[in-house]
Symmetry: C2
Subunit: 200 residues, 2 copies
């Protein structure tokens, strides 16, 4: 843990903060805990980030960016839109179920951002990014299944994002994976129903 550039140290502190937040919760992610996790002194944290809020913004940005990078997937042509959506959500679900702490941190950070002066914009940005991922996936499904959606894209994207958020939130509370997966499948099928053959 010798000397490194400010940029490297910042990345290392953000990574440490994410580990602490997943393990202990965002509320318990103090600058002291982050410093200990990263193996540096408290003052080093404040040398790299003028205020703690800047570090939290870095955490939120890193989490959203990682999620965004992981969500890219191309779809082979053909198939039913409901089935394509269902398969996409099942792949997403595997990731969620493997990293529950990450999802919990995401929701906690959104709440913190909404309540913190000057961070509300980050919450909205996070939501726009996730909404954009939903939109792109819905467009990919439309191309693959050769259909047009019968609802405006903003409405459909919001439906899909709401379904994912709500389902994950519920699972974080009761950890009933079986019922959760069946609900997710049914909701995917539902949304797939808002389609008609392309150009008709």
């Amino acid at each position: 843990m010798g000397r490194m550039s400010v940029a490297e140290r910042r990345d290392s502190l953000v990574a440490a903060a994410i580990r602490v937040a997943e393990r202990e919760g965002v509320a318990a992610t103090t600058t002291r805990a982050i410093a200990a996790e990263a193996g540096v002194s408290l003052a080093t944290v404040h040398y790299c980030f003028a205020r703690k809020q800047e570090l939290l913004e870095g955490v939120l940005t890193a989490i959203v960016t990682q999620l965004s990078d992981a969500a890219q997937a191309e779809l082979p042509p053909g198939g039913d839109p409901g089935v394509l959506l269902r398969d996409g959500l099942r792949r997403l679900w595997e990731v969620v179920e493997r990293e529950p702490g990450r999802q919990q941190v995401t929701y906690e950070l959104t709440q913190v951002a909404l309540r913190t002066e000057g961070m509300a914009g980050f919450a909205r940005w996070q939501y726009e990014v996730q909404s954009g991922l939903c939109r792109r996936h819905l467009e990919a499904v439309a191309r693959a299944a050769r259909i047009d959606w019968t609802l405006p894209m903003p409405v459909l994207a919001r439906m899909l994002l709401a379904v994912v958020d709500g389902v994950v939130l519920g699972w974080l509370v009761d950890r009933d994976g079986a019922t959760t997966r069946r609900s997710l499948d049914a909701l995917a099928e539902s949304i797939g129903g808002f389609s008609r053959p392309a150009g008709s």
Copy 2:
């Protein structure tokens, strides 16, 4: 603000805590802030609640109970299940849009409960109560529309609860009421589709 019984004082402190939490967030709901809001001294709070966690449990209980009481509604016979569900969600939405702080506090408290030793049970209880409300509403819709649901009730109830949670969560971030209402309508219609005429 003279003397009152412990029970009365506890209720008054819980009510004060809810007001502070709606205004400032659960994280900022300190015993001092609650005492000030209730017009009593700090020591009085600790006289009525041995630990702060007991007070928070009282807040969560009060919020869930109030929500539960407000959700009762009888449905006139006849109509389409999707339309009945949609109308129910629209009534619920009016309440949500009128009291955004209340919803935000609910999510914040769930997160706190999940992270707090000894409070995880409260989060699960909260979820079971809300799930029960969804189940009862779905059963009422089935009676009114004379249909049977084509999915098991636990799955349907979870779908409905997830939809409400996800939609509210998204609206708390971007406050786009128009898109939110259209998404809610479409999702209600979707869930209504998992039905067939009764006894067929």
